[in-house]
Amino acid sequence: MRIAVLALQGAFIEHEQMLSKLGVPSVEIRQKRDLNQSFDGLIIPGGESTVQGKLMRELELYDPLKKMIQAGLPVFGTCAGLLLLAKKIQNDDRIHFSTMDIVAVRNAYGRQLGSFYTEEFFKGIGKIPMTFIRAPYIEDVFGEAQPLATVNNHIVAARHNKQLATAFHPELNNDLSVHQYFLDMIKS
């Protein structure tokens, strides 16, 4: 198995390190020709969704990646990645892949002073560390999406078939369970 990591901007190296700890090789997607490699899943990292969304379009990655996700390529988005997958963003007109049946709220906890760490339950895993950095949350899931974790009455993780999204950053803590969950999702 090999996982592609969208490496346009943000904390993509941290995801590669998590995969490497799980013994899974990764490839970086920075431009169109990087898509010629074969991979079994895609991770969209944290960073700024505005930057990643813009670069994705200008580097001609948007259409091919969207087609791959629609065709069933397993994808895992964290923070900005969640926003790139959401069908609707409550407080932003810019929508991106729009493949996941979730309504997200951008910068939902405010500025950096609102960033926080907590430990909560994740469906099918148990209690795990969750780091929120200027994070979004999921206001609503509909259609085929299912909530996987809730913090203070807000959904912070969801799954829609082979699409997984978390508002928090599992790649910033030592706990490998969410990445393992994604790998299991690919295999299933």
């Binding site: 960073g47 700024e48 910068n107 950096q112 002073l113």
Partner: protein, 291 residues
Amino acid sequence: MSEKRFELNKNLAQMLKGGVIMDVTTPEQAKIAEAAGACAVMALERIPADIRAAGGVSRMSDPKMIKGIQEAVSIPVMAKCRIGHFAEAQILQAIEIDYIDESEVLSPADDKYHIDKTQFDVPFVCGAKDIGEALRRINEGASMIRTKGEPGTGDIVQAVRHMRMMYSEIRRIGSMAQDELFDTAKQLQVPYELVKYVHEYKKLPVVNFAAGGVATPADAALMMQLGAEGVFVGSGIFKSGNPEKRAAAIVKAVTNFTDAKILAELSEDLGEAMVGINEQEIELLMAERGK
């Protein structure tokens, strides 16, 4: 600052990696920067080139102006305070700034002490010319480091010197024997634990950006290849002929910094770059402020 808060503040810097942080002086410029792909903006009244030209004492910007920029964009907003001026930093924290730059670009308020950044909840980025300055700032609570470069000159030579110095010292510490680390900590005037971290991980304990003198996509690519994890661009964008185009080109250069073919395309037709000043021609070396 609790240990957890320090972690969260380092984490925000991690999210900025691979990105470009742009100096802006108005909400309009902030919107241009965001649309061009900036991962954050630095709100300040005058960009470094103008501060240099105007001379005199340069201070924290008007909070009203900073708030205008916070309202104009959805990306993180940073602002500068003077070295050692903890009251300015308190004011910036009160308006919920996302990152404070304790910056040598402004006139230093204290010629001996930097701000005790551990007393704050908001994160700080500080400039450093070498590993000693970097680790001293981190020990004071900085959660992100940038090279000092020479702001407002459009001359990359100092940023290159500082980044090369940083990595050369990291390699030296990385190859030391355990017992040499104690003496290095003493020489650098920093705690042993920080030196040990550099020895073990062959990197700084926080994210490290390039800053000072970046004017072209090639400058940005050069700094990334020298090991920068992202780039600050100050005067280089809004002192140039076509800010929108240059800003967008520098953003793309940082993402594909090793692909010379892409860099060649990005470098075409950017209009006039900012007029540079060579380091021999300037009287005030801002990088010498705050060690």
